[in-house]
């Protein structure tokens, strides 16, 4: 039987970032999938080696527009792990507030996009309208809508003023009724059930085998959340629930994210009302030689930063692993055997973030061969030779 290749990407209205999925289809059914990223490589790890620890906090903030807190959070924790040092209680609470605000707006953004991919533009617009309120609240707290620039090794840059707290709590409370309505509209809609239930199932075993992270894993029944398993910030100071569902289909992934939004609202409100007094910054001056690891639970899963230092004010090596790097390969388990119409929503269901995941890939003009490091050095030397002539 004739097989057709349906390309999704490198530029496609489905995804806002450049990526390339090659779907091999048999009629409407997907029989194979190939994923290529690397269109947007920026060399952040290398750039970071040329910057001081304070500067690279800003740099990693620019890895991703949505996880703009998760990366600095993990990076500062990695640097603090080198010394090692614990930040003050107040700084921990402020960090938790900012991280949870990011989780709410990220999950709402995903919910809207998922609606858009299913042709349900009303959900799209409503979710993004709600997200505006959260962005406003974050602007009151940090001065910025998206890149908050709140983190620095040793604490936070800005304090939260007590007079801002009631305004922010009011703003966050104001989205709860609409969010409840949206939750009902999504969870009880029979047509949405027909489109998402039993679609793109990632079994628990597959989730473990592919090392899926975050909501993707929790929707498959893998009860793993760094905020519970390895508490950081102020997460162990309060009561909140880890949302775990069992089916692993697109519907469960949506449910996990919607319910997590409510938990995040609970956490933020608790932190704002119980904000302890004290210093916000330890004023760290020297970073000794050594290694440090920082990992936190980003909206999409575990973000992992590794920093090696040699006693100067710059890292010798800075390694970043974003959650999508682990979640994108699960497409092999979920997309094959589904139809093209379902493939799009399954691809979107892990909330992939390609600019976080970018790795360099080099190929020749025919698009086949991938070079290894030695070949690249040789190519570069050949070019220098040509230039000299």
């Amino acid at each position: 039987m004739a097989r057709t290749i349906v390309p999704i990407g490198p530029y496609h209205p489905l995804q806002e970032e450049p990526e390339f999925f090659t779907l091999t289809v048999d009629g409407e059914k997907v029989v194979d999938i190939d994923v290529k990223v690397g269109y947007n490589h920026r060399g952040i790890e290398k750039l970071s080696e040329a910057k001081t620890f304070d500067q690279s906090t800003f740099l990693v903030e620019r890895i991703c527009g949505i996880c703009s807190t998760s990366h600095p959070f993990a990076h500062t924790r990695a640097v603090e792990d080198v010394i090692p040092v614990e930040v003050s209680e107040r700084a921990k609470y402020i960090r938790t507030i900012i991280a949870e605000g990011e989780r709410i707006h990220s999950h709402l953004l995903w919910l809207g996009l998922a609606g858009h991919f299913l042709g349900y533009n009303t959900v799209y617009m409503w979710a993004w309208k709600l997200r505006e309120e959260i962005l406003d609240a974050m602007e009151i707290l940090s001065g910025n809508r998206n890149n908050y620039a709140m983190f620095k090794p040793g604490g936070v840059r800005r304090d939260i003023k007590y007079e801002d707290v009631p305004v922010v709590v009011k703003k966050i409370n104001s989205i709860v009724p609409t969010l409840e309505m949206l939750k009902k509209a999504v969870i009880d809609d029979p047509v949405l059930h027909a489109r998402t239930k039993g679609v793109g199932v990632l079994s628990k075993q597959d989730a473990i085998n592919y090392c899926a992270l975050g909501p993707t894993a929790r929707a498959s029944g893998v009860a793993r959340d760094l905020r519970k398993d390895c508490p950081y910030g102020a997460y162990d100071k309060m009561q909140w629930d880890m949302i775990v569902t069992q089916n692993g289909d697109v519907f469960d992934k949506a449910v996990v994210r919607i319910l997590e939004t409510f938990e995040s609202i609970k956490i933020i409100k608790h932190c704002l009302l119980k904000l302890p007094k004290g210093e916000i910054d330890l004023n760290i001056k020297n970073i000794p030689p050594g290694e440090g690891i920082g990992h936190i639970e980003a909206p999409r899963g575990e973000v992992f930063h590794y920093v090696r230092t040699d006693g100067t004010n710059r890292p010798v090596r800075h390694k970043i692993r974003a959650p999508s790097f682990m979640n994108v390969p699960t497409f092999k388990a979920t997309v094959i055997g589904q139809t093209i119409s379902d493939a799009t929503i399954i691809l979107a269901a892990v909330d992939p973030c390609y600019c976080c995941t970018e790795r360099m890939a080099v190929r020749n003009i025919k698009g086949k061969k991938l070079y290894n490091g030695e070949d690249l050095v040789k190519l570069s030397q050949e070019k220098t030779e040509r230039m000299r002539r």
Binding site: T4, H12, H116, Y120, T122
Partner: protein, 307 residues
Amino acid sequence: MIYIVYLIFYGFLLTAIIGLLASWIDRKVTARVQYRVGPPILQPLIDIIKLSGKETLVPRGVSKITFLAAPVIGLSGVILVSALLWINNIDRGNTFIGDLIVAIYLLAIPSISIIMGGFASGNPLASLGASREMKLILSYELPFMLAVFVPVIKSGFSIELGQILTFQAENGVMTGAWSGTLALIVAILCVQAKLALVPFDMPEAETEIMGGTLIEYSGSGLAVYRLMKNMLLFTLPFFLIILFMGGLRIDGIHLLYGILKYVGLVALVTVIRNTNPRVRIDQAIRFFWGPVTVIAIIAVFLAFRGL
């Protein structure tokens, strides 16, 4: 001579104006539901004028004639059927036996032109969209025919639109009876699919197959398709109004009723499209051949019993 007036003035101009207006209502209501401002009233017209001024690109290696003729065929189908409907609506006596069948046949032409254009594009996504459109036609035509059969039975097996209208003028509209109401519900669902609006917009699903059948069209070809779709937004509800709601009348208070009937149908279509996600093509077929056909058969049965 009078037929040329009908064709140009009613079939094309009036239908296009009302269709563009309806398209604006659809877009504005959608925008307000979604917390947006929405376009100005002339926007649908501006879109089409702008598109017709753009360069028309023809993909390499395709049949140029088929590719460019497809939108024109679709548009002419809509103009013809609108003219036919207007003639019947204005001058009930001026009709011929079997014009209902001709109208149903002509209403299928736009979908067929879209299939033609899709397959002529030589693009895998366009052929995917065209094959979806084909499956969609197969799914909704059966319940649509059954629904149209109800007014035929009720008006004493007449297949003339004029006689169906006369029957309704004398005995009250079709929706007054149970069978008529059920058939109208079925027909509205089929119209949603004929217009390729959510939840049945899979032939052009933007986020799945990037516009599907229309992916290779640009410039005036796309403008003609857009115009065709906007005109269908008038023609299809108009067809339902003639069959089930006693047609449009232009005298006095009846004009207001007519506008209410039409705007009501358009609003219903808009609401359906804003409160549903897109379904899969197999789900659509199961939906139309399952519950919808069953409702249509019940309506036909009730019509035979005189209910």
